[in-house]
């Protein structure tokens, strides 16, 4: 008995993989259906669906980059402390002292790449007309994913706490001042008055909620950190699950035009 056969016949192996190797059509199907990870993918799909010239695999690459960001991000969390005292130095330390600190660059470049690929994916879905019924809802899910991806990018940008980060977020969050009704310099806000008391001022508007204070400071760093590492990734993961599920329920990747 060869070593391979010995392993494949062992109880441990068989307890994990309940079916023979996928050597014939039937077992190929069965293996797909009984493996948690493989079952996420349909057993059979249209030829079109794997044509690189049709999808550019842009959605797939975006998903891959999301996974890269998740893994490298968790690793960075072991070294990064979101406080005024430590944040900047922890990032410098990752670059200069930590073994394989290049993971930080991977996280940063991956983030830039993901923003590019998600736009390209949206562009290809548009070009192939794949947003049309029955796929309208998945387009909407996609738009939310796009917004969440950009928010991940925005919140992550502050974390190095260097001059570029602080002023980029200052400038970016100043736009929230002009939110209609909810920003204290936005249209309509000055009409939200009860008994002479302004409801929307610099200490209660949308920007204040985002920053946790009136300017970009330690509360902001903490807020963005929690959003960046917990809230937004969870929301994206949930929506990606729905997105993929809907691709299948809407009849698989769209057909040729």
């Amino acid at each position: 008995m060869s070593v391979g056969d010995f392993i494949r016949n062992s109880q441990v192996w068989k307890s994990i993989f309940r079916h023979p190797a996928p050597r014939d059509r039937r077992n190929r199907v069965v293996v797909m259906l009984t493996n948690f990870f493989l079952h996420l993918h349909p057993v059979s799909i249209r030829k079109q669906g794997i044509a690189l010239s049709y999808t550019w695999c842009m959605g797939g690459i975006t998903f891959f980059l999301f996974l890269v960001e998740t893994v490298t991000g968790v690793l960075l969390m072991f070294y990064y402390r979101p406080t005024l005292e430590h944040a900047y130095n922890d990032i410098v330390t990752l670059g200069q002292v930590t073994t394989l600190g290049v993971l930080r660059e991977l996280h940063r470049w991956g983030a830039h790449a993901m923003v590019i690929t998600i736009w390209l994916h949206m562009y290809r879905v548009f070009l192939t007309g794949s947003y049309k019924p029955p796929r309208e809802f998945n387009w909407v899910v996609g738009v939310i994913l796009l917004v969440l991806t950009l928010l991940l990018s925005f919140t992550g940008y502050l974390l190095p706490w260097d001059q570029l980060a602080i002023w980029a977020i200052t400038v970016g969050s100043n736009m929230a001042r002009a939110t209609p009704l909810l920003g204290h310099e936005g249209p309509g806000a000055k009409f939200l008055v009860i008994g002479g008391v302004e409801l929307i001022h610099s200490g209660s508007d949308a920007r204040f909620a985002l920053l946790g204070q009136r300017f970009v400071g330690e509360m902001t760093l903490l807020r963005f950190y929690v959003l960046h590492c917990i809230a937004l990734p969870l929301a994206v993961a949930l929506l990606i699950a729905i997105h993929f599920w809907r691709v299948r329920k809407d009849g698989g990747i769209s057909g040729p035009l």
């Binding site: 002023w167 400038v171 100043n174 209660s204 204070q213 009136r214 300017f215 509360m219």
Partner: protein, 183 residues
């Protein structure tokens, strides 16, 4: 399947009395159910609103919005005082016999400009807006002059700057007596 209501109907008078009783219990149940659902909905809504409110901190580690800035005689004509920039975000400037408190927030998108003594102007590092010593914009994307804060002389003769009130030139507010001190 037999059509609905094909059960033998109870005797008419009995049904009448019974349906009244049922109606009575039904009303009580409906009231309780309605009340329970309403209470549930209201508490859920209150909790949601409360959670939103939770995200707005009540205590901030921000410097007080009012501060004292020495006596008027300490300020020389033509000088931009940068001592209060770091902590309070304010330049105190004297031009001729007028002292005013300029906000250090660029009116473009909120960066902090630098005072360039040699060039006698405020210059924003973010997108290059320039402001004259009196705060009026003259170059770059900033659409309006820097804002001024309320400035007055307190009982002890010291200058008091109050950042909770601001004055904008484009609204004609710089002429307000609280927008500057005239010596």
């Amino acid at each position: 399947m037999p059509p609905l209501g094909s059960k033998p109907a109870p005797a008419k008078p009995a049904a009448k009395a019974g349906s009244d009783r049922r109606g009575f219990f039904y009303t009580i149940f409906a009231t309780w159910f309605g009340a329970a659902w309403a209470a549930f909905t209201v508490s859920l809504a209150a909790m949601t609103l409360g959670t939103v409110r939770f995200l707005f901190p009540n205590v901030l580690a921000e410097p007080p919005s009012t501060f004292k800035a020495g006596t008027p005689e300490q300020y020389e004509p033509g000088v931009v005082v940068e001592r209060y920039k770091q902590e309070y975000g304010v330049w105190i400037v004297r031009i001729d016999n007028q002292i005013f408190a300029l906000s250090t927030v660029c009116t473009h998108l909120g960066c902090t400009p630098n005072w360039l003594e040699n060039e006698q102007k405020f210059k924003c590092p973010c997108h290059g807006s320039g402001f004259y010593k009196d705060g009026v914009n003259f170059e770059g994307p900033a659409p309006r002059p820097l804002e001024r804060y309320k400035i007055s002389i307190g009982d002890d003769g010291q200058i008091v700057v109050d950042k909770s009130r601001k004055f904008q030139k484009e609204l004609g507010q710089w002429n307000d007596p609280d927008a500057s001190i005239t010596l």
